[in-house]
Every structure is written in C-alpha cells, then in structure tokens.
C-alpha cells in the first residue's frame, strides 16, 4: 500500500532525524554580524578544550527579539545565550528576561569600557557582556580636503563640515561632498539623524515621554540634514545605508562619511583621515554608542555553562585568539569593548582608526542629561522606540527625497509618535 508505506517512511524519517540536546551543548542565538560569524570558527578551540558542543542559530534582529521574548514568556529553554543590543539590554534586564552576569575573579570586568558597561547595565547590574562596540565618527578623504584647502577638526561645527563638503563636492568627477544614511529605519537613517538632533540640542521625548519632534531644534537639525545631504550627497541618498555608502566610499565617490566606527576597518581607499563627530553646540550626544552583547535568557537550563562561555567569548584572551588565528588576524579582532584591546601593539599596527574609535566611544554619553531625559544616544532605551523611530524614519526619507517639506514631515512624525506614546500610556 503506497500511502501507508509512505506514511510509515515519513514517520521513520522524522523520528530518526529528531535528536535530543545533550547536557554539554549550548544553543546560541546570534545576529548575522561579521564578528559573530568569525566567533563560530574561533570557538572550535573552546569546544575542543571544554567538550561543550556549541549550536549557533543565526537570526534576523527582529526575529531574534520575537523568539527570545516568546521563549521567555513560555518558560524559556530554547536558547542558552542570545545576542542583544544596547537598546534592549537595560530594558530586558529590568523586566527579568535576562539573567544578571556574575563573572569569576579572573574576568577583568573593569577593563570593559565604562560607556559600554553602563549602557548594558540596569541599576548598576551588568546584564550583557559586550563582544563588539562602536561609536560614530567622521571618515574623510584628507587628500581631497587638502586639495580644496579646507580642514575638518575634531568635534567641528556643522557649518564647517558643510563648508568642507561644498568645497570637495565635484559630481562631474564622480565625487560627492558628504555620504550619509538616508534609508528609512530606526537603526538606519534615524541613528545618524538622532545624533544631529542631539547636537542641535534636541531630544526625542521630554521627561513625561511626550515627543518633541515639533521643536525648533528638530526643525533646525532636519533642515540642516536635508540641505547637506540634498545638496552635497550622492543622488538617491534616501536609499543609502551602511552597505550602500561603504560601496560608494570604496569607489572613491565620497568626500566624507559620518557613520559607525566599524566602517573604518572596511575602507579600501587611500588618504582617509578620521575626526570626532561634529556638533552644533551641545557637548554630548554628537556621536552614537552601540554594542552587540551576549546575555543569558531567563529560564536557560544551562545557565552556568552559558556564563562560562560568555566569560571566554568576551575576554581579553578571546581578542588575542582572533588576532593570532590563522584565518583572521589583528585587523579582524572585535573592537570597542575593552580598553586593553587598544593597547595591543599588533592591533594598533593593523588598525589606523584605533585611537579615533576609542576617543569616540569614551566621549559618547548615553546617560540622562537636562536636554535628553532618557538613556541612549541615537535611540531612547524604551520599548516603544523602535516603533516610533520606524514611523519617523519614513517621514525623514520623504523629506530628503523632496516628497514632503521638512515642516510637513516633522508634523506627521510628531502626530505618529504622539499616538504611539499616548497609546503606550505615558500620558493621557
């Protein structure tokens, strides 16, 4: 009987293919980040040494969040270790979704850069250990600025940056003055735009959680952004984010790029120099701060083994293991997490951007200030931010493309953000 035979075969295949997890295995949910992909290879040595089998699950950011939250809500156990960003770490820690991290005395917690430690903590307790961190900075073509007779200084004024962009802008020769993120997304265009708004003295919300997108600071910042990128940026900038601009930069088409410090390690053109992010008067918040970290979800049955692995994967020894690995080397070590990494001579020799990156991370100020009554630089560390940020991102892209005026885009943004925050119960 073909059908019954088929059914039996199907059941047999299914039963044979199912496999039970062993006690010595860890399931690690990761985002598709280059450093995490490399870790899978480097960690083969950890498995060989400890006998712990490591199962890696690569997930898209939003799916990872959804799976971890649903796993936690249904008793946990699906993942032993998860990748988590700086936006969620304090929120999830406060909610009890991830375990506090307690390391052995051999683990140098104080070596983790203070900005990273603070950003991944809630009320002084560290909930996630960073394996890679970044800030933002200006990466400009010094050969072009020298030829044009202009200079870009650390923490330069936005006006000077715009003047420099105008001076090196030469579309006929295929060189655009400034390449900046324009693709809509709270982690795309809004990451950069928020730093501009911060530097103009603006903020996303007031102390009650009321959106401030109709403020004069937002208006000035967005007008400046649209003017700078619209006049001196490459055509179609509303479709450009990190990858697109990286490709343009490496083709020699960008005079300057203000973006994640990690970009510096991918630049292949000559004559690149670095400067700290510009500002328009506000001393903090001009450069962003982000980390990808590792945390243990509440309910993991292997919490102890997970903590041991995190301790190894975010240690000084791991950095050295990557640097000395035959497949990778010192140009591929994860940066932005530990002060000691920047003191390694081999790393300094391989990374010309090291000093600028360290300075950017150390000067980033994610804490609450009078101007910005929430934690986070290029985001607000509240659960509603991704939704608000995504809605506003679309309006900013519309303003950049000319489909809407800056004023109309900001008014629509304010309405959208107001509706989300009101519904979330921040105010009536």
């Amino acid at each position: 009987m073909p059908f019954s035979k088929g059914l039996c075969a199907a059941s047999a295949i299914a039963l044979m293919a199912g496999s039970a997890a062993t006690a010595e295995s860890l399931t690690i949910a990761i985002v598709n980040n280059g450093h995490m992909i490399n870790m899978q290879t480097v960690a083969e040595a950890y498995s060989a040494e400890t006998g712990v089998e490591l199962n890696w699950v690569s997930l898209e950011e939003s799916v990872l969040r959804e799976q971890v939250t649903s796993d936690t809500a249904t008793g946990g156990g699906q993942y032993d270790i998860i990748n988590i960003g700086m936006q969620e770490a304090p929120i999830w820690g406060a909610a009890g979704w991830i375990e506090p991290l307690n390391f052995s005395s051999e683990y140098d917690v104080d070596d983790i850069l203070p900005a990273m430690r603070n950003g991944l903590s809630h009320e002084g307790t560290l909930y996630a250990a960073p394996f890679y961190g970044e800030s933002s900075m200006v990466m400009y073509r010094k050969d072009l600025t020298d030829a044009a007779g202009v200079a870009i200084a650390d923490n330069d004024s936005w006006d000077n940056v715009k003047a420099a962009a105008a001076a090196i802008h030469n579309p006929d020769a295929g060189v655009y003055g400034a390449c900046l993120r324009g693709k809509p997304g709270w982690g795309d265009n809004m990451a950069f735009i928020t730093t501009v708004v911060n530097s103009f003295g603006g903020a996303w919300f007031d102390a009650d959680g009321r959106p401030q997108l109709d403020s004069a600071e937002w208006n000035a910042a967005i007008n400046f952004y649209v003017d700078l990128l619209g006049n001196y940026g490459p055509p179609g900038s509303e479709g450009n984010s990190f990858n697109e601009i990286l490709a343009l930069y490496n083709e020699g088409k960008c005079g300057m790029w203000i973006d994640a410090t990690i970009a510096a390690s991918f630049l292949e053109v000559d004559g690149v120099a670095y400067a700290q992010s510009p500002n328009a008067g506000n001393p903090v918040g001009a450069n962003w701060l982000w980390a990808w970290a590792m945390a243990i979800p509440a309910g993991s049955p292997n919490a102890e083994a997970a903590a041991d692995f995190i301790e190894w994967a975010t240690s000084k020894e791991y950095v050295k293991a990557v640097g000395n690995h035959a497949e990778f080397g010192w140009g591929s070590v994860p940066t932005g997490q530990r002060a000691s990494t920047y003191a390694i001579p081999e790393f300094q020799a391989a990374a010309s951007f090291a000093a600028a990156e360290l300075a950017a991370i150390e000067s980033a100020a994610p804490g609450v200030t009078d101007l910005k009554p929430y934690v986070g630089v290029q985001f607000a560390s509240i659960p509603e931010f991704p939704e608000v940020g995504s809605a506003v991102a679309q309006e900013m892209a519309a303003a950049l493309s000319g489909a809407k005026s800056v004023e109309d885009a900001l008014a629509a943004s304010q309405d959208a953000a107001d509706a989300i925050m009101r519904e979330a119960g921040y105010y009536d």
Partner: protein, 277 residues
C-alpha cells in the same frame, strides 16, 4: 469578417507575445536573484555592475562554510516530503468520501475546512508554542511535519474533491459490484483515474511546504530548522548584503524551481483539470 481576421491575427502573434511578456515578467526576479548571487556584496549595489561584473562563487562558499547549508536543506527535504505524503494520506480518503458519498453536511464541512485558512497564523502562535513545548515536540521534525500537513490539508482536500467530482460515479459503483472494498476502490480505481490531479495536488502541497516560513522559523531552533530559517538568518543588522542573500535564496528556491520546471506539464494539466469540458 474583419473581426474574425483581427481575432486570428491576435491569436497568431498577440497571444504568444503576451504570454512571453508575462512569462518573462514572472521570471525576471528569479533571473536577477541568480545573477546577483554571483556578485560580491559591493558589486551588488553598484549601478555600473548591474549586468557586467566579474562573477564570483564567494557567496556560495560562504554559505556552505559558515552556515551549514546542507543541514537546512536536509531538514527542508524531510519536512516537505513527509508533510506532502501525510497530507495526501489524509486528504485522498477525505476527498473520496465527500465526492462519492456526500451527505447534507459535505458542503458545510468543505467550507469549514477552507475557513480555517482565514485564521491569521499570528493568532495561534503562542498557543502553538505552549502546546509544542508542553508535549516536548518543539524544534522536532514531527512538529514541523504535523503543522505543515495541517495548514495544507484544506487546500489539498478542496483540490482533490474538485478532481474526484469529475470522475463518473458509475465507475466506482462498478467496482463495488465486483466486490472491491473501499480501500481497493481508492487504490485500484480512483488513484489511477485521478493520477494527474493527485500529482498536481502533491506538487502544489510540496511547494507550499518547502516555501513555508512563518511556522518553520518560529517553531524550530536547530534540529528541524529549514531553509526558510537560513534565509531569515542571513539578514544582517548592518543592512541587506544582497550578494550573500541572493546566493542563499537561489540555493533555497533552486530545487523547487527545477522540480516545477520538470513537472510543469503535470502541474498545468492538473490545475486545469475539469476547467474545460
């Protein structure tokens, strides 16, 4: 006469041109995906490299070396083949009963089965996760096969019911007169007569199972994760790396496109079965 002449000219020249146009329109995204899969991530976003570029296998090597493509592919084959067999095992007798021994409730049952397709999947996501974890089936092939079978059963029963309705009842009854039992009727008479319809139903169910992403991404971790999860995991936080993504997508949809290509005659035959009398 003029109208007839115009109509035949359209039949001779217009229809093929239209058919080719529509065909190319549907094929273009697949062609573009395959083309992009041989570009580096940098070339994939450069306007000057739209058509002319130096092809590379880098993305395919990365996919097999860093992402264990074959494990995901094996899981996809196990899930899709098993779910298709299981779906047919249930839907053929169900459709047989409804086509040849209908009751007053048959139409309502058919409508009720179809109405389950109208339920948004997200509405039952958490109950499904609780249930799967509660009975210890989370991230197993049995769970994936069961879910894939259940979500495709209504379509399979409807399709098979339509095909079976076209078979004269007298032939089945003649079998009965010869003393064939019910299972014999299905096996010896119905299946050979409706083979085209059953094959196209199987093919369609297989395609749906292979492409299913909502449940396979959410009900699996490692052991039963299918190619849908591999594609999902290749979306990087820094943005979309089109070269890499295209290679993964090409490798994921490749087998099903090839299968569809070879079976297109049966597929079209089955899908148009009973449409023109």
């Amino acid at each position: 006469m003029a109208i007839v002449a115009q109509s035949s000219k359209f039949s001779i020249y217009g229809r093929p041109v239209l058919a080719w146009g529509v065909g190319l329109m549907f094929f273009f995204p697949i062609f573009w995906m395959v083309l992009t899969s041989f570009k580096t991530d940098a070339d994939a976003v450069k306007p000057e490299n739209l058509i002319f570029f130096t092809p590379t296998l880098e993305n395919y090597l990365n996919m097999t070396e860093n992402y264990d493509y074959w494990r995901f592919a094996r899981n996809s084959v196990i899930s899709a083949v098993s779910a298709t067999i299981f779906t047919l095992f249930v839907s053929v007798p169900a459709a047989y009963a409804m086509a040849f021994n209908p009751t007053r409730a048959t139409k309502d049952v058919l409508m009720w089965m179809l109405s389950t397709k109208m339920l948004p999947a997200a509405a039952v996501l958490y109950p499904m996760i609780f249930l799967a974890k509660g009975i210890g089936l989370y991230d197993t092939h049995i769970l994936v096969i069961t879910v894939l079978s259940l979500i495709n059963l209504p379509i399979a029963v409807w399709m098979l019911f339509t095909y079976f309705k076209e078979i004269p009842k007298d032939i089945i009854e003649a079998g009965k007169m010869d003393g064939v039992n019910t299972w014999g009727e299905i096996k010896e008479i119905l299946v050979p007569l409706a083979w085209g319809g059953i094959a196209s139903t199987a093919l369609l169910v297989f395609i749906f199972c292979w492409n299913e992403a909502y449940w396979t991404v959410r009900l699996t971790t490692i052991d039963a994760a299918t190619l849908s999860k591999l594609i999902e995991g290749n979306r990087a936080p820094e943005g979309l790396f089109f070269g890499r993504l295209s290679a993964v997508s090409t490798a994921a949809v490749g087998p099903i496109v090839v299968l569809g290509w070879f079976c297109q005659k049966q597929l079209v035959q089955g899908l148009t079965f009973g449409a023109v009398k």
